[in-house]
């Protein structure tokens, strides 16, 4: 297993090199970012000076190699816009995104399982039908549109939920301040309801359908029939036998889903003014803040790869057929 992990980690380095190279080239094709970092009335001479200061005067490969060299030593450079170490800016924004992603994931799983089970048990009835239609719709709505609609309905009209804003949760926790984290937990979750629904409805719908079909499959299996025949209550059959197996596919999806949702939050972060890394990266790309883009890209890709690795390891543990 250790050799497997070592091999995966070396692949990770290649992946990181790949994404940084692509984003680096991508941002440089579009022209000279220097103009964004000089004043309106800068003379040509001042622009040249600024270009030199920012390091944009050197050949592209030199710039990239310098960046990689520094990155290898843990220095990801300074954000041009925020004028402080890029990694710090990313670290400020990351917790908010992770909170949102985790909560969306929780919604996508917690609600999906009962809905899916219910639909499977009531197979062919109106309940099943409506859950499945809602599931289909949930997978067909643009998330930003859903977000704006929710703001209009639950924020402005009914006033059930706050429209924008964020109460830090992960940050105090990481700083070891459990007390603050606990006291702000209710309000933090409260603020997260609408944005995480907008992010999570798609996955929720998909998971509900997934649970339903794997539930139907298990319910028809021999051992469930046997359990029934033994006269066990329907509740016991569902909980102890069918469900245990039915949600395995969902569990294996969880890890993948994390990275998957992480990518889906950009638009939602913009709609709900969520101070996360998606919005940060979008702005950084627009501002051609290349060091900041690179830092975001490295951190995001790193998280993606790490989570995939963990998922594979867990999967190998759960499913004896898989050998690493």
């Amino acid at each position: 297993m250790w050799t497997y992990i070592a091999r995966r980690l070396s692949q990770t380095v290649i992946v990181l090199l790949g994404v940084t190279l692509i984003s680096f080239i991508g941002l440089h094709i579009g022209g000279d970012p220097t103009y964004l970092y000089v004043s309106d009335r800068a003379t040509n001479e001042e622009i040249d000076q600024a270009r030199e200061r920012l390091g944009f005067d050197k050949p592209l490969y030199v710039q990239y190699l310098t960046f990689i060299g520094n990155a290898a030593q843990g220095d990801l450079g300074r954000s041009l816009k925020f004028r402080r170490p890029a990694i710090e800016v990313v670290a400020d924004a990351l917790p908010a995104t992770i909170e949102l992603t985790l909560f969306s994931m929780a919604i996508a799983i917690v609600f999906a399982i009962p809905l899916g089970v219910l639909a499977a048990l009531r197979r062919g009835t109106a309940t099943d039908g409506s859950i499945m239609i809602l599931g289909m719709l949930g997978q067909s709505i643009p998330s930003f549109w859903l977000g704006i609609m929710m703001i209009m309905l639950f924020g402005v009209q009914l006033r059930w939920f706050p429209i924008s804003g964020h109460v830090p949760l992960l940050e105090p926790l990481l700083q070891g301040d459990v007390r603050t984290a606990l006291t702000s937990l209710p309000s933090a979750l409260y603020y997260m309801v609408m944005p995480s629904l907008a992010v999570g409805v798609y996955s929720l719908s998909r998971n509900a359908r997934l649970v339903r079909s794997s539930m139907l499959e298990t319910l028809s299996l021999d051992y469930v029939r046997t359990a029934r025949a033994k006269g066990l209550s329907e509740f016991s059959v569902v909980i102890n036998h069918a469900l245990r197996n039915a949600w395995l596919p969902v569990v294996t999806m969880i890890g993948l889903e994390f990275g998957f949702l992480l990518g889906g939050v950009v638009v939602v972060e913009i709609v709900f003014s969520w101070p996360g890394i998606g919005r940060l990266l979008f702005n950084a790309i627009n501002q051609r803040d290349i060091p900041l883009v690179q830092a975001c890209v490295i951190v995001l890709a790193g998280i993606f790869v790490a989570i995939n690795l963990i998922v594979d390891l867990i999967y190998a543990r759960l499913d004896p057929r898989v050998r690493l």
């Binding site: 800068a42 816009k81 400020d92 804003g165």
Partner: protein
């Protein structure tokens, strides 16, 4: 505050009452919704209008510009200008301190100026990048604790106005801070100090001295326009900037908030780029003053204002804001028949398809009030008189700005240029020389550019005024701008608050107070 929110939330959750738990900030708190994130609060680095509006409350300045455009005392009570106009001496009365208790005197003022100019700091903010280059700043000296002398290289009546934009701060606190710390941990010299800053989310200021009616000012970053309006309508936010024109009705009809409309000073125009890099028939056409003048008649600016900006406007007559403009000039009327006639005469008749020539109009998206729609509407007006116009909308900072800066936008492009109320010359300085940066159209009419020498030589303000008026006439008749409007600014203001918006995009909150119940 946070505890209170928490208590309310728990109470709301327990009692099951689905009501806005966060509605209405407390009486000593003012909440402002900004459309853009604040990147830095280092006085030398601040460049965006939003950051500067926050900084205005944290840092003091030598003097300030009043609502009506006059230079008024702030930290300094008086100033004198030397005979050659190149050194200004400000008197700083004693008794000021900074947030950390340090005394704030003339030495700190001099330090603030010199720190911003110090090349070692590599600052690119408004102060070193715009103010100092405009006045050719030399240095600042404090001969004694109550006097500071600012030396500049250019004699100009605008210098005291420019100097109001330089933020003053304490020397000792900034000397011992690293540049990284200075970006995020400003040490206040003004009425408010930063107590909490969550990047991308909010900045909380707390009052430490007068002026100011609120103990706490909370700036929240809400980039999406409809979300900002929604927050205002639910009462969570007291003042929002950049209200989208189409949301004005919703706010005004809400009974909880209103929209303050002010005629701003930003000059919106469509530039005719005469750069040699463009040689299409259309680009060649707009190098002729006759054609440019014809196109002025083709665009119905008052209707654009009314329909797309929700405000009545008078069309600009030149690049100078109205009170300082040439009073003899009248705005071009909307007269498409005249436009067609002039274009026929200029040698550009319609062809079989009804097209005179083709044109590309480039415009930013999301930078100015309803910019994309205004540009599209201009394109339609031009197409209507036979100038088949293709409108290209572009992302502002990474695509449009470089084009503009390199004078490669166009051949026609839509742009706004910040203006002032206090001087015609300030507005005219965009076109200070043929090769000056902001002459984005590469215009080179000697009847304009040769006159700058005359202005410098002018003996009296009256003589200067005469020359200005002549220049503005040339600009109106044969200039490189399709004249549009001065951008209005819309602020959403909660009925809980009394606050008057200014014309110059400065959001000053010292006078804001709770409305009488």
């Amino acid at each position: 505050m946070r505890q209170l929110k928490y208590a309310l939330i728990v109470a709301g959750a327990v009692s099951g009452v689905p009501y806005a738990v966060l509605a209405t900030p407390s009486d000593d708190t003012l909440v402002v919704g900004l459309s853009a994130d604040i990147d830095t609060l280092d006085p030398g680095e601040i460049s965006s209008r939003d950051a500067s509006n926050v900084a205005e409350h944290i840092f003091t300045t030598l003097s300030s510009i009043s609502v009506d455009g006059q230079v008024t005392p702030r930290l300094a009570d008086t100033y004198t200008v030397s005979d050659d106009g190149k050194s200004l001496t400000y008197h700083i009365p004693p008794g000021h301190t900074c947030q950390d208790g340090e005394t704030l005197d003339a030495e700190d003022v001099a330090y603030s100026f010199n720190r911003a100019a110090d090349p070692a700091n590599k600052f690119t903010g408004n102060t070193p990048g715009f103010i100092f280059t405009s006045i050719d700043f030399k240095d600042a000296i404090a001969p004694d604790p109550e006097h500071v002398v600012i030396n500049v290289g250019i004699k100009s009546s605008m210098t005291p106005g420019f100097l109001t934009e330089v933020f003053v701060h304490c020397k000792d606190s900034y000397e011992k801070m690293s540049l990284d710390d200075a970006t995020t941990h400003p040490v206040a010299s003004g009425p408010y100090q930063v107590v909490d800053w969550t990047p991308g989310s909010e900045i909380v200021l707390e009052k430490r001295q007068d002026p100011g009616n609120f103990k706490t000012i909370e700036y929240r970053i809400i980039p999406e326009a409809s979300t900002r309006t929604a927050e205002l309508l639910t009462g969570n936010v007291d003042i929002i900037t950049n209200v989208s024109p189409d949301q004005i009705g919703a706010i005004d009809n809400s009974n909880v908030a209103r929209v303050e409309k002010v005629q701003g000073t930003r000059r919106m125009y469509v530039g005719f780029n005469q750069s040699a890099m463009f040689d299409s028939p259309g680009a060649m056409a707009i190098k002729k003053a006759d054609v440019r003048r014809a196109l002025q008649y083709a665009v119905d600016v008052p209707t654009i204002c009314q329909q797309l900006l929700s405000i009545e406007c008078e069309r600009a007559t030149s690049l100078v804001n109205p009170p300082q403009g040439n009073p003899d000039l009248t705005p071009y009327p909307y007269d498409p028949a005249m436009a067609e006639k002039l274009l026929d005469e200029a040698g550009y008749p319609r062809d079989a398809d009804g097209v005179r020539f083709e044109m590309t109009l480039q415009a930013p998206r999301g930078r100015y009030l309803n910019d994309a729609n205004v540009a599209l509407a201009v394109g339609q007006y031009l197409s209507d008189i036979g100038v088949a116009t293709n409108v290209e909308l572009m992302e502002w900072s990474s695509v449009y700005v470089p084009l503009i800066r390199k004078h490669e936008a166009g051949p026609m492009f839509f742009l706004g240029s910040g203006g002032g109320l206090w001087s015609a010359l300030y507005d005219m300085s965009d076109l200070a020389a043929v090769d000056s940066g902001p002459n984005y159209t590469d215009w080179d009419d000697p009847r304009w550019f040769s006159r700058w020498a005359d202005i410098e030589a002018a003996k009296s303000p009256e003589e200067e005024r005469t020359i200005i008026n002549e220049m503005l006439k040339v600009f109106h008749d044969d200039g490189p701008w399709l004249l549009m409007y001065f951008q209005p600014d819309f602020y959403g203001v909660s009925n809980r608050i009394d606050w008057t918006a200014r014309r110059d995009e400065v959001v000053e909150l010292f006078d804001a107070k709770l409305a009488a119940k």
